[in-house]
Amino acid sequence: MYEMIAFYVFAALTIGMFGIVVTSRNALYAMSALAGGMIFISGFFFILDAEFLGVVQIVVYSGAIMALYAFGMMFFDTTRDVSEKMRSKKIAYSLSIASAVLIVTILGVPLAGENMQAFYPNMEGVGNIQMIGVVLFTKYLVPFELAAIMLLVAMISGIVLASKKMDEYLAIEDEEIEDVKEGR
């Protein structure tokens, strides 16, 4: 009963928030609504007994990604309304037909795969976080390490891209600093 109420409340809130993200003409409103929607998505994870993912969702999405977007928005002109022009009707129609087919496929796949087998069934008396740890560090160890390397590469590229002139400042010679100090 409570699960049902929570599901419908979170579903309405999430759809509303994401609808604002898609339709709003103000970038700041869109970003705030996106942050709210991410929090409500984590509510589904808690309902579905995936506590670890719920916490990760809040920490990574609302903490890291939203902070990054807010930081990036300092560079852009966010007070101006976003301009949008619909050009070709034909493209819009064909894309909506393609997305409708895609949605039907998404909803139809579980019906086709009725005889699915669980590779890693939940053990009795083991919590969600412990179970994720066991599976992550045995079966998914290599993808986990690859994800770590990918995040490292992303961090370095983010630093290098966003601060274009940083390498020049880091490479300043001691004499140049002395020159600046003496006002030459």
């Binding site: 869109a30 969702q57 990604i65 997305s99 998404i106 590779f119 599976v135």
Partner: protein, 100 residues
């Protein structure tokens, strides 16, 4: 009782909202927001399937999707800031000319 179909319908709705955003937005920052919606919708679907089939693989896949989303934002936002410094606009139409 909430079944798997409820969650899959929700996933489909959220995914189509994201698709609508990807289609109608011409601002690159807004396009990024729409891709985040797409990734989140799929995460909900994965976790729901993981719960109802009693299998942890779905949750772990969602975990890796979150890692991919985080790195996508870091790299994409860096490129976007670079483009804005050079062009003064994050509009998609400013990207039509493929010249340095």
């Amino acid at each position: 009782m909430i079944t798997l179909t409820h969650y899959l319908v929700l996933t489909g709705i959220l995914f189509s909202i994201g698709l609508v955003g990807v289609m109608r937005r011409t601002n690159l920052l807004m396009l990024f927001f729409s891709t985040e919606i797409l990734l989140n919708a799929i995460n909900v679907g994965f976790v729901a399937v993981s719960k109802y089939y009693n299998d942890l693989s779905g949750q772990l896949f969602a975990f890796f999707i979150i890692a991919v989303a985080a790195s996508e934002v870091a790299v994409g936002l860096g490129l976007l800031i670079l483009w804005y410094k050079r062009n003064g606009s994050v509009d998609l139409n400013s990207l039509q000319m493929m010249k340095g």
